[in-house]
Symmetry: C2
Subunit: 206 residues, 2 copies
DNA sequence: GACTTGCCGAGACCATCAGTCTCGATAAAG
DNA sequence: CTTTATCGAGACTGATGGTCTCGGCAAGTC
């Protein structure tokens, strides 16, 4: 992500000249988070970020390749919050808490603004689009891992990819279109429906 | 959508001066469709459209409020293709053909390009975003109508909104992220899963 | 057929914004 | 004190959506 330094942490290499200003880096990422949270999804420009961080634009582009990259790095910290699925003893319980946590995260205005801005950026910046792909893939992996944590509860022919995409599909669909809320009730209903799809049902899978 | 004429079809009102050039209108919409289909989702600029249609930019902005509006009007014609659900005798069959048709439409490169460009536009132009909302709402309505066409096959407490959003959620999620194809197999599997979720199952809904 | 009115194509023009370039200042190292 | 790389600041470039202007032309009216 940086220019040519092999490692920021090991000052082993002979390096004359001024070093990277860590305060500036923090100020930039903090400013991004603040501006994104305040913007409510409205576009946040590079100039605004630089201004808010009290930093020159070049200082941003010296360390990040594009605006989308900055947004993503700022977002990375937030991602961890939603993941952490508590290991429950049934698939249904695990799934339910996962969906609930995901929906809850999107209801937090600060998180929602960041996600919305990231999506908007991805529609324009191919670099940001790649990062969104990486991000969403990691979320799918997390969900898939959760599902396979209860192998004995899974129906033999259960199509996990289909289930995962139904969950995140509905999530993003509602999140972006806002035609219907990502409520706790919806989370429960979705988790129930998908658990029924994945798990060995009372009688048969279909 | 136009400037101030109450109705295009009734030339009842005294209207001196040159009339709207229908050829230009067609040329613009055709050019949009062609360019969109060729672009493969890459951005199509207003200048390109005007150039391709052999038209001045002002002629576009005289009749449409924004680029997104032009894209949507061009898209409207295509929407009809995918809708038309044949009235089958079971919910499962109706749903299956609906999903298959929807997925098939997205696999057609020309349609896909238009949809992708429209989404990209919506991320930037609030006007286009409204139009996308209208468009997706009409599709949900169509699906909902299809589901309620077989009331006796529906489970009493079936959450139709959830089912609709699971379907279109997965559709858009896969369509935009492209991590997994909208294949015929996926269509079948999804239809099966949702039919099971909606319909009175062999034993009980949960 | 001349006049009026409003659309037409063409393109100059403007604003916005991502990203680059330059400059003088400054900090870290020899 | 010299060298080197980063810093803040901001001018600049290029792309693009959208507006404005202009000479020309077509559809009516008189």
């Amino acid at each position: 992500m940086n220019r040519d330094d092999p490692d920021d942490d090991s000052p082993r290499r002979a390096h004359t000249g001024r070093r990277r200003n860590e305060d500036a880096r923090r100020a930039i990422l903090d400013a991004v988070l603040v501006l994104l949270a305040e913007s409510g999804g409205a576009p946040v420009t590079i100039d605004t970020i630089a201004r808010a961080a009290g930093v020159g634009k070049q200082t941003i582009y010296r360390w990040w390749p594009s605006k989308g990259a900055v947004l993503l790095e700022a977002l990375t910290g937030l991602a961890g919050d939603v993941v952490s699925p508590p290991e429950a003893d049934t698939l249904r319980a695990d799934l339910s808490s996962f969906v609930a946590a995901t929906f809850r995260g999107a209801r937090a205005e600060s998180t929602a603004s960041v996600l919305r801005s990231l999506v908007r950026e991805a529609a324009r910046d191919p670099h940001a689009a790649d990062l969104v792909r990486t991000f969403t893939a990691s979320r799918r992996d997390a969900l898939r891992a959760l599902l396979t944590r209860h192998p004995n509860e899974l129906a033999p022919g259960a199509d996990l990819d289909l289930i995962v995409d139904q969950l995140y599909g509905l999530f993003w669909y509602r999140f972006l279109l806002e035609h219907r809320p990502l409520s706790g009730e919806a989370a429960t209903a979705l988790a129930e429906a998908l658990a029924g799809q994945a798990g060995t049902p009372p009688s048969g899978p279909r």
